[in-house]
């Protein structure tokens, strides 16, 4: 039973919309670090998707409540022990991987709990980032809006780096997309992509 007030579907942030495109209707989704819950709400209202969000921040949690989604307050660093193996069609980790301490563990947990994992992250190999590093400074940009000393991002990587982690975690990459300024990019992804999106599954 869904009691949430029927609200018009709000325009999703383009990076979340890109993830939503990958989700088949009627499936079951776990959104890790779900923020204010707008992706889950969108998926429920437009694709009849059932799911749960996991969020640690009190303010975000309250927004999730107002969005009427299922949300569990939990620290992702402590793993996903509340969730059974193979219990979700998709496990999403949107722009959170780079801020996590236990990077490899969370990928392994996503592979355990979900049939497919979806990860998005700011690509450190984006050309503007490379230019700033070449000029002798840590990059600051739309996707990386922090100073080196106040950033929550402790594990930044490039597309190549992430693909290497996938191999290490025995994850088979199904699909990769990149975006720049919220528009799809099709050439030299590791250079031209500001945001990276990967869909993967356990390697057979």
């Amino acid at each position: 039973m869904n009691d949430a007030n029927p609200l018009s579907v709000v325009a999703l942030r383009p990076d979340l919309a890109a993830i939503a495109e990958w989700i088949q209707p009627g499936k079951k989704v776990l959104d890790l670090g779900c923020g204010d819950g707008s992706l889950l709400r969108y998926l429920r209202e437009s694709r009849n998707v059932f799911g749960y969000g996991v969020e640690i921040d009190d303010k975000n949690l309250l927004s999730c409540f107002y969005n009427g989604i299922n949300v569990i307050q939990n620290d992702l660093e402590s793993g996903l022990s509340s969730f059974e193996s193979d219990s979700f069609d998709y496990v999403i980790l949107s722009q959170t991987l780079q801020a996590m301490r236990h990077t490899e563990d969370i990928i392994q947990e996503m592979l355990r709990v979900g049939k497919q994992g979806i990860v998005s992250f700011p690509n450190f190999g984006y050309w503007r980032n490379r230019v700033q590093v070449a000029l002798g400074q840590m990059p600051i940009s739309k996707a990386l809006p922090y100073h080196w000393y106040d950033t929550p991002n402790i594990h930044l990587c490039t597309l190549n780096d992430f693909e290497e982690l996938c191999r290490r975690c025995n994850a088979h990459i199904i699909e990769c997309r990149v975006m720049s300024n919220y528009r799809p990019v099709h050439i030299f992804p590791n250079l031209m992509g500001m945001l990276a999106f990967y869909r993967f599954e356990r390697a057979k």
Binding site: M1, D3, A4, N5, K28, F50, Y52, D58, L61, L62, C64, F65, Y66, G68, I69, N70, V71, I72, Q73, N74, S82, F83, E84, S87
Partner: protein, 375 residues
């Protein structure tokens, strides 16, 4: 100044139920009455009812005041009222005193029609399941087929869970606050020390103290003092009392010296005027016995297969009597059954009692959750 968010003056109501209630223990209550209060208006579709279940020492008086008694605010007046998180402008809210209680529903102080004397020790042991069955009879009396929500903290949260298990069609949402799926050994131990304090009081007379025109005051007082310690946290006691003394110097005796002693003794004394010792014994037993997983070889997820409601589970960081870990066990069982569930772990230093306290974040979460319930 008048509190515009108060439900104002309220009057308790009674219902007499003339059908036998089969209890889990095997005993039967031939007939009984329940005292309850309601706030707000039941809508035409009868779809906006919320039942609030009380905890160990609570009762049916949840919100508002009594006309003849100043400051007689209900025990959850900060939560329930017009414009409050449980908004009586939207919802029809019901509070009911549980069987075995001492505030108007049939209990040990009531007269047993068979003997003409108070039930006393002969009042049967009641369980959370029995309470829920009796509450369901009240819902029939009020012609409410389905509750928009059932809400409870602590022992009240256990009733909210039990409702979702026993009457899945009648509960759309269950709000389970600072509760657990069963008591730990430590919790049962605290309860038994409290019971022993009462049972070994010389004025207890095997539970029939009414006949002797006396009360097991010392026992009930000790039971409450012990309980009260466990409802607070070390931090909140340190902040509120620390090592403060009543007088400036030590007296090297056993009279009240520290502020905490004074506070606990006051709480204990006050409680003996308000609560019946036999009821206290019964309530603690209901807590001890609650264990829905029992019938499923300890598998809580299997127990929740029957449930259909959506759940909100809330815990408080400093609650060591019903810790967040215990709430997460409930969440896990709900997740395993693909039920709608949200869970928040609320930062608070006030221990188990946090669920009764004003806390902006806590109240906002409840408000936001209930806001999404269509009525």
């Amino acid at each position: 100044m008048q509190d515009t968010k108060s439900v104002g003056v309220v009057t308790p109501q009674y219902v007499h139920i003339d059908k036998p209630l089969q209890l889990k223990s095997g005993a039967t209550l031939d007939n009984y009455h329940l005292v309850y209060e309601t706030y707000g208006q039941l809508n035409a579709a009868r779809s906006n009812a919320i039942l609030i279940c009380h905890a160990l020492s609570g009762n049916h008086h949840i919100a508002g005041v009594y006309a003849d008694k100043e400051k007689s605010f209900g025990w959850w007046d900060n939560m329930v009222g017009p414009g409050k998180p449980v908004d009586t402008k939207r919802f029809f809210v019901i509070g009911v005193n549980n069987l075995g209680g001492c505030h108007g529903s049939t209990g040990p102080t009531s007269i047993d029609s068979k003997t003409g004397n108070p039930y006393g020790a002969s009042f049967p042991v009641v369980t959370v399941e029995d309470w829920v069955d009796a509450q369901e009879k009240l819902s029939q009396h009020l012609e409410i087929e389905q509750f928009a929500a059932i809400i409870g903290g602590s022992l009240g949260g256990m009733q909210a869970m039990q409702w979702a298990l026993d009457y899945p069609e009648k509960v759309r949402h269950a709000l389970v606050i600072a509760a657990a799926a069963n008591l730990t050994a430590q919790n049962i131990a605290f309860n038994d020390v409290a019971r022993q304090a009462i049972l070994t009081d010389q004025e207890f007379y095997g539970g029939n103290y009414y006949a002797y025109d006396t009360l097991p005051r010392r026992g009930l007082r000790l039971a409450r003092m012990l309980g009260h310690i466990t409802y607070l946290s070390n931090d909140s006691m340190a902040a509120k009392f620390g090592r403060s003394l009543r007088k400036d110097e030590l007296s090297f005796g056993y009279d009240v010296e520290f502020e905490i002693e004074s506070y606990l003794r006051y709480q204990g004394d006050k409680f003996t005027d308000l609560f019946d010792a036999n009821s206290y014994l019964l309530m603690t037993k209901a807590l001890d016995y609650f264990n829905p997983a029992d019938a499923y070889d300890g598998d809580l997820s299997a127990a929740f297969q029957a449930a259909k409601a959506s759940f909100l589970i809330l815990s408080f960081t400093s609650d060591w009597r019903f810790s967040p870990e215990r709430s997460r066990e409930i969440v896990k069982a709900l997740l395993d059954n693909n039920l709608n569930v949200s869970y928040a772990e609320i930062a608070s230093n006030q221990g188990h009692d946090s669920f009764l306290m004003e806390n902006d974040h806590y109240h906002e979460l409840v408000r936001a959750y209930l806001n999404n319930i269509a009525v």
